[in-house]
């Protein structure tokens, strides 16, 4: 028993699992739902307990272990083993997972609590309330597996597990076919990512095996990554012809494969399409899974594998560029959306892009920092949106809202805080994390075109501020555009809903100070104020850039200005001069339509991939090859041919006339004798 072993870790994921299992088994075998109080206790108790354990363990971790060897491991048993491949079922708590665990269990617990209020009035005959929380707990379990996994395999368990829970929860209201379709879409797109992830695992494992360390364990891989630094993969002729070079660096390839997985999970180009659709799920789900936790798994994975990415500049560049482009691209779509949750969804995609940008430029701690702050404010925003939706009786179209400020004051205030935070207004949390990312991008000399990246980031920051405030104004200010009937029933939500909002709002405000850049810290005389960065650094090995404080503050100022400019524009168009909007929209008509329709990427995918594949499968494979060629020609064809030989030809030799039989005998006999005497 070394100091690093810690059997408490297993309970962090297991508690939600147990809760989920209890609920689930009850659902299967019992005739009726558990008492609602029991459901609530079980469902909320588990994540809260996990959170408590996490806090205790993280405190122990950071206090009892030296900075350079801060990790706890909880090894249960060997999960999969064959030949020289071994994967333990083991959990790892190190600073990186510590931060994530706290975020997931913390924010998760809040959302569980919120969900009690949100799902309260869901009228279901099939015991939906309990089922919902079973799924939610299962999700928490999976997410914790993902985070705490000690090796790629356990991470993959969580990785897929969250995908399934997401699938189940998106399609929670399955009676609407669209919801089920959205869930399926999410899962399938995630699977495309998992395809890459799996290949990445294979590539890494075999490379390490070849180098003599067959492992998929993070720490072991990190320790031995040097062995692979110079490995290259020989590409097949066609690929090397396309790419222009004969072989690719192994780590780059492996990291790219893994990144494909991250793209799927974290909704990056080109696999982002599922996330907006995923808003079909209940709002707490959107908040928990599709904003605060699951979608950041990709970022977490990249940070977790930072030891490999740091040695794979090509992969890093790909990550950074994908992130930046996604951030910008999604932000533009966000400009024209009218569904309150869709706006938030695209903003999530966009913010995830920021995180990848950070990870790509090796600012891993900044990425995690943004993961954390984003979890606070985006969860807040979603929950706020949920509150609005509840208040509006499940109306989600912001063009039918307006003026909710007075009717829902708490929601209004907390939502506003969230909006300010995401827009990057100091000193709200979003400001610090975003600023750090942009700074890192600006300084990432190793990445080709890092200045362009920075510019894109700035542009996105502007757009973000704009569309978030557009959302805010459309929902909360001005006159209500809702129907009379709805208007009469608008009401503030209950305490189950509001308490989490308030807590999250608080963190959205102060969250930034966990990672207050050292430069700011010095202003207040605090040494190493970027505690998060220093906490994480031993694990993630972020790039350090030496820049003077003036530049740092200057860049911050630019960022802030850009954000404020966005706010100003939004205020102009959606608060002061709403009459201008239709004119502008019609002026850029086709472009607006294109953006509103999300650039019709879904349709494009449908046209290019889904339909052709379906047509080929149905027409060519199922009908042509299966029924036509193999069965028709090959199997039945042979059978029919044999039968036809008899029916069409041989049969007519059997004429029924004795003399024709004799004739056959004579001719056959003559041939027989002729053959016998052939040699004489």
């Amino acid at each position: 028993m070394t100091e690093h072993e810690n059997a408490a870790l297993r309970w962090i994921p297991l508690l939600p699992l147990i809760a989920a299992a209890l609920s689930g088994v009850w659902l299967v075998f019992a005739r009726r739902e558990l008492p609602r109080a029991a459901v609530i206790a079980l469902a909320c108790g588990a994540p809260i307990a996990s959170f408590a354990i996490s806090v205790v363990q993280v405190v122990k971790l950071s206090t009892q272990l030296p900075e350079e060897a801060r990790y706890y491991v909880d090894n249960l048993y060997t999960w999969i083993s064959a030949g020289d491949f071994h994967a333990e079922l083991a959990f790892l708590l190190d600073p990186l997972s510590a931060v994530m665990v706290l975020v997931v269990t913390g924010v998760g617990s809040l959302i569980h609590v919120y969900a009690v209020g949100y799902m309260d009035d869901d009228p279901r005959e099939d015991r939906g309330f309990q089922r919902f929380f079973a799924y939610l707990n299962l999700f928490t379990f999976s997410m914790l597996m993902l985070i705490l996994g000690d090796n790629l395999l356990v991470m993959f368990v969580g990785w897929e597990g969250v995908g399934v829970c997401s699938y189940l929860l998106i399609g929670f209201w399955y009676l609407d076919g669209a919801n089920a379709a959205a869930g399926m879409k999410a899962f399938v797109v995630n699977r495309i990512g998992d395809f890459g992830f799996l290949l990445g695992i294979f590539l890494l494992f075999w490379s390490f095996a070849q180098a003599g360390v067959p492992t998929v364990e993070f720490r072991e891989m990190a320790a031995n990554i040097g062995l692979l630094a110079n490995n290259t993969v020989e590409l097949p002729a066609w690929l090397s012809f396309l790419l222009g070079y004969p072989n690719a660096p192994l780590l780059t390839l492996a990291c790219l494969c893994l990144f494909v997985g991250a793209c799927g999970k974290s909704a990056q180009i080109p696999l982002y399409v599922w996330l907006p659709d995923a808003m079909a799920g209940p709002t707490p789900v959107s908040a928990l899974i599709h904003a605060a936790t699951m979608v950041t798994a990709g970022v977490y994975m990249v940070c977790r594998m930072s030891f490999a990415y740091s040695l794979a500049p090509g992969a890093q560049a790909a990550v950074a560029w994908t992130g930046a482009l996604t951030a910008f691209f999604a932000a533009t779509i966000g400009l024209a959306q009218t569904d309150i949750k869709k706006v938030l969804a695209y903003s999530t995609v966009s913010q995830l892009g920021y995180m990848f940008l950070a990870a790509g430029v090796a600012a891993y701690s900044s990425a995690i920092f943004h993961v954390m702050t984003h979890a606070f404010f985006k969860a807040l925003l979603f929950l706020g949106a949920g509150s609005v939706i509840l208040g509006m009786h499940h109306e989600q179209d912001i063009t039918k809202m307006g003026g909710l400020r007075r009717r829902m004051p708490v929601t209004w205030l907390t939502f506003l805080i969230g909006v300010i935070a995401i827009a990057g207004v100091p000193p709200f949390s979003g400001f610090f994390s975003k600023d750090e990312i942009l700074l890192a991008a600006n300084q990432a000399h190793a990445i080709p075109g890092h200045h362009t990246l920075w510019l894109i980031g700035m542009a996105t920051a502007f757009l973000t501020a704009f569309y978030m405030f557009r959302l805010y104004f459309l929902v909360f200010t001005g006159a209500s555009r809702a129907s009379h009937h709805t208007q009469e029933h608008i009401h503030e939500s209950g305490n189950w809903v509001l308490v989490p909002l308030v807590v999250l709002a608080l963190f959205s405000v102060i969250g930034g100070f966990f990672g207050l850049p050292d430069a700011y810290g010095e202003l207040f005389g605090v040494e190493r104020s970027n505690s998060l960065h220093h906490f994480l650094q031993p694990v993630v090995n972020s790039a350090e850039h030496e820049i003077d404080h003036a530049t740092e503050f200057g860049l911050a100022a630019v960022t802030t200005t850009v954000g404020l400019a966005g706010i100003a524009l939004a205020t102009l168009l959606y608060y002061w001069r709403e009459d201008l909007v239709p004119g502008i929209v019609s002026a850029i008509g086709p472009l607006h339509a294109l953006v509103r329709d999300k650039y019709r990427i879904d349709e494009l995918y449908d046209l290019l991939i889904v339909r052709p594949l379906g047509a080929v499968s149905r027409g060519l494979l199922a009908r042509g090859i299966d029924q036509g060629l193999i069965d028709g020609v090959g199997v039945n064809g042979t059978a029919n041919l044999v039968r036809a030989t008899a029916d069409g030809a041989l049969k007519y030799l059997q004429t029924g006339l004795a003399q024709s039989y004799l004739l056959a005998m004579v001719i056959g006999g003559a041939l027989l004798v002729a053959w016998l005497v052939r040699g004489v």
């Binding site: 008899a646 030799l653 059997q654 039989y661 027989l672 004798v673 016998l676 040699g679 004489v680």
Partner: protein
């Protein structure tokens, strides 16, 4: 000069021949019972008595045959053997006797149903059996021809035994004309062989056979044609479907089994004794015949609607499989042929008997469609039929498989010994043909089990004791031979105080006793 004749050598034939003499007398006696006993014996009872009597004669013969196994091969006349009672002959005789017994037992009720319940039937069967027994033991062409005719002529008559039925007439006429024609060819071939080699004895033919002389070869060829006709090998097979279909069902069974077994015995003997000097050429001919028989038989059987006709084609194809064993030659090939024939007899008689049991009031229910839903109306019959069909198609666990296995095995062994691939090709052809054969064999159980019974179902009622006996023993034999070929004869061997005897052993010993 009176030669030393060993009458005991032909002891197995004597009871049957005696039966030929006695049965007409017995029948007359039965017909005259009103005079003798003052009570009339009904036609049905008479049939039963006669059948019982026939079976008695046959079984005495069988016992004598089995008994002869334990003795060294005997000949009737050392100077001029005529018959050679070696293991192969005895084994084949046993099969013939068994086949005949089963056919006779199945017949007594059936004859009534086709309104042809005449006692001559049994006389004819027994005389044919006499011929067969001599045929399989014949060691010269004189006895071979004579026995062949003694075997065939009664069967010609039996094919037409259902006098009132045009189909039966036609069947007999065709069989008779074509058969006589084939006998003529065989006879002429014998004559040419005689001329070429100076003898009609098989051993001596072999000694002075000149493979370079056309006359010898023509003679051999013509004899082969004659025998190929009897085993219904393509292209000398075309009579068989017509005859089997038209003949009374139990006679079809008799023809398909006993006649074929005896003919194969003659073929085996002629080919491996007389034609040994030209075995390569002869095997070449038989190779083609085998391939053709299997293929044509199976392909044609596929399109048959009439079960008897289908079984006829199936018997043609089985002749093809059997020829592989003949070609493989040697002790293993012979053993394979012997066991195959035994297996084939049980499964074929079983199948035909099922058809005959379903006959009522002169109407044969012999189309495959007539069997629809039989599993529900007559489950026992359906089960026996299925067992026979699965055995015919060579399903492991049945006798048919053991036969096929031994044949293939002999072929492979011979291929390995000679290093030639031609036998393997033949085996491959056989295997592909077995695949084709599934198409029609499986249709029968499918019809019986998967189709609902027809609106006018098969005749109800139970099989008679005799029929039940036949069915049960066929099914049991098929399964026993298939599962425990090694232990298939323990009862009989203990009866005969033979140690450690089983079918395979017996066949193998028999094959070994065969003249080289």
């Amino acid at each position: 000069m009176i030669p030393q004749l060993d009458v005991a050598a032909v002891a197995p034939m004597i009871p049957v021949a005696l039966g030929v003499l006695c049965l007409p007398l017995l029948e007359v006696a039965l017909l005259r019972t009103p005079v003798l006993l003052g009570q009339r014996v009904s036609a049905a009872r008479r049939g039963t008595y006669l059948a019982t009597a026939s079976v008695l004669f046959l079984s005495v013969s069988l016992l004598l045959t089995l008994n002869a196994f334990s003795q060294p091969p005997r000949v009737f006349n050392p100077e001029n053997p005529m018959v050679r009672m070696d293991g192969v002959a005895l084994f084949l005789m046993s099969i013939v006797l068994i086949g005949a017994m089963l056919s006779v037992l199945a017949s007594s009720k059936y004859l009534e149903h086709i309104h042809s319940n005449w006692g001559e039937f049994y006389t004819l069967v027994l005389s044919s059996v006499t011929g067969m027994m001599f045929l399989v033991a014949a060691s010269d062409l004189i006895m071979l021809f004579l026995a062949l005719e003694l075997m065939s002529i009664p069967v010609y008559a039996l094919a037409g035994f259902r006098r009132a039925s045009l189909r039966s007439n036609e069947s007999a006429v065709k069989y008779f004309l074509i058969g006589s024609f084939a006998s003529g060819i065989l006879l002429y071939g014998s004559s040419l062989l005689y001329g070429a080699t100076g003898s009609l004895e098989l051993d001596e033919i072999a000694t002075s056979f000149d493979p370079e002389n056309a006359l010898d070869l023509v003679g051999a060829g013509l004899v082969l044609i004659g025998l190929a006709f009897k085993i219904s090998s393509v292209p000398f097979h075309q009579w068989a479907p017509d005859t089997y279909e038209g003949a009374p069902t139990t006679i079809s069974a008799f023809m398909a089994t006993a006649v074929k077994v005896a003919a194969f015995g003659a073929l085996l003997r002629v080919v491996s004794v007389a034609f040994a000097p030209v075995s390569e050429s002869v095997y070449g001919v038989l190779w083609v015949l085998a391939a053709l028989s299997m293929t044509v038989g199976n392909v044609m059987a596929l399109i048959q609607r009439n079960l008897k006709r289908m079984l006829a084609y199936s018997s043609i194809s089985h002749a093809g499989y059997l020829l592989i064993g003949v070609i493989a030659g040697g002790a293993d090939g012979t053993q394979a042929v012997l066991v195959y024939l035994l297996a084939y007899t049980f499964m074929t008689v079983g199948a035909f008997t099922v058809i005959s049991v379903l006959t009522r009031d002169g109407e044969e229910h012999d189309r495959v469609d007539d069997f629809a839903g039989l599993s529900q109306t007559r489950p026992g019959l359906a089960a026996v039929m299925s067992i026979c069909m699965f055995s015919l198609l060579g399903m492991p666990g049945t006798a048919g498989f053991i036969g096929k296995f031994l044949v293939f095995s002999a072929a492979v062994q011979s291929g390995l010994a000679t290093g030639s691939s031609s036998l393997i090709w033949l085996v491959v052809i056989a295997v592909l043909n077995s695949a084709i054969s599934l198409g029609y064999y499986l249709r029968v159980p499918a019809t019986m089990y998967f189709h609902p019974p027809r609106e006018n179902p098969q005749p109800a009622g139970n099989a008679t004791f005799f029929e039940g006996l036949v069915l049960a023993s066929c099914a049991a034999a098929v399964l026993l031979l298939g599962l425990l070929p090694q232990d298939a004869l323990p009862g009989v061997s203990s009866l005969l105080q033979m140690a450690d005897v089983n079918v395979l052993q017996l066949a193998s010993d028999a094959a070994a006793s065969f003249a080289p």
